[in-house]
């Protein structure tokens, strides 16, 4: 069991205790997340890194309330989402947590603009035009607003997916490879923005990434292996992250 606390005094945006999720049954069973205890402080950009198949995506799905754990608990702020009924959980997904899927999952019938404001429409929230414009400017998708997802490149779709996750100003943002399809310049802009959001708006961001440079924007890096937190890097730099990953690879070998 791994328990990581970042500062005794910190308030936590996300917490988990004994979080477990397995797939398959019998000999074919694979434990993707294995009794994970986590405390993600508010206002911190956290990166989750680890080898493919280590359970990173499953972890962020569980933390966002998009999947049900086999065991364990998850809190968003003070609310235990693993004990919530579907209706309450829907409210958490719509208003408190924002999620960026690895495959974007944009609705193909809708324009980029409609995709971005969709969470507002679904949750009966009013649109803040200045915040919408700020997001569009930051992500550089002003020209794409009236285009359908299938008319956009992968990178453009990813920016729209990020804007959609941020439009409700969620307290927690979870993102699965949010810069995977972006060029270096765009990645840097997005990551800088996420870091600023954390620092100035008190937003908490958890992102899965394979890119040590992206991870270096984070306030802390969790190293994940075999469904468990295998280590962490505080105040990460690309070299420190690589060193952590190398160490992780050494342990695995």
């Amino acid at each position: 069991m791994t328990h990581m606390a970042v500062g005794e005094e910190a308030a936590y945006a996300l917490r988990s205790r004994g979080l477990t999720k397995a797939y398959g049954a019998g000999d074919a069973a694979v434990t993707a997340v294995d009794h994970v205890d986590l405390d993600i402080p508010e206002g911190v950009l956290t990166a989750v890194m680890g080898p493919s198949g280590s359970g990173k995506t499953t972890l962020v799905h569980l933390l966002a309330g998009l999947d049900k754990p086999d065991a364990g608990q998850v809190w968003v702020g003070d609310d235990e989402i693993t004990a919530m009924r579907d209706k309450q959980l829907a409210k958490v997904r719509g208003r408190i947590v924002g999620f960026v899927f690895q495959g974007f999952n944009l609705l193909q019938t809708m324009s980029a603009r409609d995709n971005i404001v969709l969470p507002l429409r679904l949750n009966g929230l009013s649109q803040d035009p200045s915040w919408f414009d700020a997001l569009v400017d930051m992500l550089g998708i002003g020209r794409e607003l009236e285009r359908k997802p299938y008319e956009m490149s992968g990178g453009q779709q990813q920016r729209v997916a990020i804007a959609r996750a941020l439009i409700t100003r969620p307290r927690v943002v979870l993102a699965d490879e949010p810069t995977g399809n972006l060029d270096t310049h765009a990645s840097a802009e997005v990551l800088s923005h996420l870091r600023v959001s954390c620092r100035e708006l008190g937003q908490s961001v958890v992102m899965v990434t394979h890119d040590p440079t992206a991870a270096s924007y984070a306030g802390q890096v969790l190293l994940f292996a075999d469904g468990k937190v295998a280590g962490h890097v505080t105040d990460p730099t690309p070299d420190a992250v690589l060193a952590g990953l190398d160490a992780l690879a050494g342990v695995e070998r």
Binding site: D86, A90, Q108, T109, L118, P119, L122
Partner: protein, 692 residues
Amino acid sequence: MRWVPAGLFGVAAFLGGLAFGAVPLESLGRDELASMTAYTVLLAAYGGVLVLLPASALAWVFHWIGLRATAAEWHAMIALGADRRTIVREASRDGLRRAAIWAGVGAIAGFTLGLVLPYYRPAGVSLGLEPSLYALAGLLLTYLVTVTAAWIVAWLAARSLTGARAAGSSWDDAGAGTPREPGRGVGRVLAFQFVVVGLSGGIMVADRLFGIGPETVYSAGDVWIINSLAVTGFICIISGLALAARAIAALTRALALRLARGLERGATKGGRAIATSAQIAADGLAHRSGARSLAIGAMGAVMVITALSSTTSSLDDARGEISGRLALEYTVASTDWWDDMTAPSGAVNEPLDTAVVEALLSDPRVTAVPYGVIRDDSWQWTEELPDSSVTEHTTRSTVLVVDPSDLEVRSSGGARPLGLQDGTATSTPAALTWESGTFGGGRDDLYVLPNSNTTPMVTRTWAEAAYGTVPLVGVMLWPADSGDIAGAPQAGLNSGVIEIAVTDDEIALLDEVVADAGAAGLPAMSVSTNEIYGFLTYGSAFVGLLTVLAMPLAVTGLILTVTLAVASVKDRRRDYATLAALGAAPRALRLAPALESGLTVIAATVVGVPLGTALGLAVSHPTLLAEGAPLDPVETTWGFIWELAHASWALPALVAGLALLASVAAAAVLGMFMSRGTPVEELRTAEKEGVR
């Protein structure tokens, strides 16, 4: 899902078996055999096209839906070096194997039902438990053709799913991460269809209005023109149907979308869950995926076909009743014109005593219609009997001359619903031999209504313009209290067959009335109790098929609608999961699939029923589409109004109601199951099912 295509071919084989089982040819006489053989050939030909083609098209689509999850696997195998032909061969064998079972079961079940159930047996044909060799050969042919079609369809589906184009695209028109410019190819096809329909339709309309084809064939050139017109007509119908299918799908989608948007706006005040559901449903309807387009088009098409079938069937019944009421059962006349083969042709010029006519018309015990008679020249013909002996016959055509309004005492509207007007003649199929005389083919100004199926009659206005004065020579009589003819129209394949007979009591009454009118010594004629004549009144084999297959079509359409509604909802599994992840309320997500299906069925009904009814009115109209028939605006419009008043809405209403209930229930259950899973589980299921 993989059994659905085989099931469709099973249904097709069932219908084929039913058609051949219903015609035990060896139990019929030689003449009947000839006519029934022709009918069977027609039924098989039309049936083959009308049943097998749509079944094949649908089966192909269901193969697509069923195999799309496997398609990703196939592409991976091909990428790793597997032989595409082997994959296609195995998939088509699988389709063949399933279809062989279902087509066999369907064909035998249909054939047995056709043999046993009186519903499907032509009038006068006794229980046919001993099928003829013709019928057995037909059964075998049905099976072989159906299974071959199934194999071809499975092969085509597997081939298209393993093709290079399929590898790069998704089932959705718009695949994620595959930017492309949609609509260009579709636009070109659509433009081509418009041109084809416009050209061929224009030629057919010109032929209808101006008769550009030759009346009689004199040369190879005439044959060429007639054949060209037939081919043009076929092209017009096929391309028109393809265009109509597109139009129906587009109209249904647009209306359903409008309804959903309207509901979304209207429900905003009432409840956010409903508004959100309507919003999700509207997004779904705007989502042009293959399954959804097919579902929407199919629902519209089902309603069109149901309304068309119901309209033709009900109008056929209504006209059959009028035909029966106007058929001559008893008459008294100044001369026995019905037996006289020696009198000169033209108008019979032996007027009936006016006092007799007046007396009969004013007698409350009878319904009376006075008439004149015109006669054709007589001609001889020979009949070859089964024992190879030959019998000589002498026949001449006679036609009654009536004032159309006089017939209204017997039937509301008289014979107008049958198409009787100046320049047309009602007719029984037997009287079609006029073609060899002067009334039909010999006169350009007379159109014989081939399906009016009653005593041959023309209007006095036309007859006197053509033949000069035509005096009243007789009166048709029916007992006043005879609400209907003795033999009621029958159900099933025999719904158009009318048995006409007057009872001995009725004949006695009519004899008494004639005697009281002072005409006891005049020739009289009645149709005896044992004499039955009646004919299939269907306007064409197409209408007949629609009538006979009304219920099977409705049931098949219903199953199709529900299946596609479910497929359509499944096709949005990824969207629903995404919406759940973005915070859509579970109640809204549960309600949305039912709403989407329900709105589609409602839109399909609103679009399909008027279209199908309009088509039914047009094909049932006695003169509108008949080449050479008069196109009088007043009579044509009157015919439409009469048809509209007599078209039945029961079947479309029933099918729409059941389709609404069944598809909404199926979608609601599916929606409930889908909302039970977490967004991640649903995304994973969508991935497994090949939904992009």
